[in-house]
């Protein structure tokens, strides 16, 4: 595979009041690769993803997607850029007032890629099947589903428009270990099958080992280490060593 940079972050900084969350994040995600960002709670993993998506404007630095600087995009240009993305949110972020299939086919019901309603529904059912849900689920409301099913629906929505880039925000949080493994398997399968570029944030090490091609460790607002997933156990980086082994002692303070 030829390595082409899909997403590049250079010196990305973001502060909220006096709290400096990102102090100069540098990260390069190659096309077709699955990169997982690890780090403790409150270290700015979600802020990093939201900066790439334009949900939060960085104070400094540049973010490029396919060579285009996206950090200052507005309006229609940003919407077009976001067509490349799919995102699975930590809590699912499914729209309560819409049926499951309407959630999955949201882009095909509203946006520039609008399809006739029955075609959009057929596509939603196909995507629901892909994540292991039956067509009967399509006509339920999100509140009628279990946490695991909501994650699957969120995953189906993220992949419905076959995006080039998929972001996963804590995909296994709040799930039992078996369901977490099912979701990890699905993510891996789908990313490989679609050839998509994936960026995941998590502190679940079993997810990391299952999903990642490469791993980046974020702490103190900068990437402390970045490398292939096979190297995370062998690296001598003290941050990665402490995090991977879940040690209370080390450079990462237990109380933040």
């Amino acid at each position: 595979m030829t390595e082409t940079a899909k997403i590049v972050l250079e010196g990305v900084a973001k502060s909220f009041g006096s709290k400096h969350v990102l102090r100069g994040v540098d990260l390069c995600v190659q096309q077709g690769q699955s990169t997982v960002i690890i780090g403790g709670s409150g270290t700015g993993k979600s802020v990093t993803l939201k900066c790439v998506l334009g949900l939060i404007s960085p104070d400094a630095g540049s973010i490029t997607v396919d060579g285009q600087d996206v950090s200052r995009l507005r309006g229609r240009a940003r919407e077009t850029m976001l067509d490349k993305f799919g995102m699975l949110f930590q809590g699912g972020a499914l729209f309560d007032s819409l049926l499951v299939w309407e959630n999955v086919a949201f882009r095909m019901l509203q946006g520039r890629r609008k399809l006739p309603r029955h075609d959009a529904r057929d596509l939603a059912i196909e995507k629901l099947r892909r994540v292991g849900l039956t067509p009967e689920t399509a006509d339920l409301y999100p509140a009628e589903l279990s946490g695991g099913m909501q994650k699957r629906v969120g995953l189906a929505r993220a992949i419905a428009a076959e995006p080039e880039i998929i972001f996963f925000d804590e995909p296994t949080t709040g799930l039992d270990p078996i369901m977490a493994d099912v979701i990890n398997e699905l993510i891996r399968e789908i990313v490989v099958e679609m050839g998509a570029t994936a960026m995941t944030i998590t502190h679940d090490m079993s997810s990391v080992r299952k999903i990642a091609d490469r791993v980046a460790m974020l702490h103190d607002g900068v990437i402390q280490w970045e490398g292939p997933v096979d190297d995370i156990d062998a690296t001598e980086n003290p941050y990665v060593h402490q995090f991977v082994n879940g040690l209370a002692e080390g450079p990462i303070e237990a109380i933040r």
């Binding site: 919407e79 976001l82 993305f85 995102m87 949110f89 972020a93 729209f95 309560d96 972001f167």
Partner: protein, 264 residues
Amino acid sequence: MAILSLIQGFLASIGAAVLGLCQAAGHLTLFAGASTSHIVRPPIYPVELWRQFLRIGYFSLPVVGLTALFTGAALALQIYIGGSRFNAESVVPSIVAIGMTRELGPVLGALMVAGRVSASIAAEIGTMRVTEQIDALTTLSTNPLKYLVVPRLVAATIALPMLAFLGDIIGIMGAFLVGVGRLGFNEATYIQITWDFLEFGDVTSGLIKAAVFGFIIAMMGCYHGYNSGRGAQGVGRATTNAVVSASVLIFASNYVLTEILFAA
């Protein structure tokens, strides 16, 4: 020395409150400007607009209708008492008509809708903010202002005049029932006086007011929900602020509109 620092503290607290108010007014103005500019720019979401129209207009009809009915009935009794002091009981139909159409129909109807709809909009959009549904909309290439705010603003601005018009009719009917059943008015005479006395401008001025109130109600609900703080407490505060600010702005804009329409 102690008195001086007390005075300084007092002045500082007033200054902080004024600055906070100016900041909030600035934020609200920018939000209203951005939202309003999206009304005329595609894409529009007709299904969402219809859904909001039903929710804000149709489902508010019982509460507005009952409020107007009882207000009209009470107004008839009060005007009868006042009128009887100078032998002018016959003014009941005409004063009820003008009072309902120009003032009480739109204002009381809007206050009832503010309590019902502003709160519900703020709670819904606030919950969407807290559960990242608004972020999800953005990642799905959908502008949240267009999808969430514009349909509510347009629906409320159209629905409120309709509700006010129906409220006018129901209020006058409430007064008619009391006038005929309790105060001894002749049915035909009551209707004739009401019809003869009412002018086109009485009704239209009330409807113009109602449209402005509808815009205020939806804007306050959307603004506070969209900028809701985190957690249940944040959503609760947004809901309260939406109802309080909508109610106060309804009264304030009512005076301004009455002055403008009075001069016209």
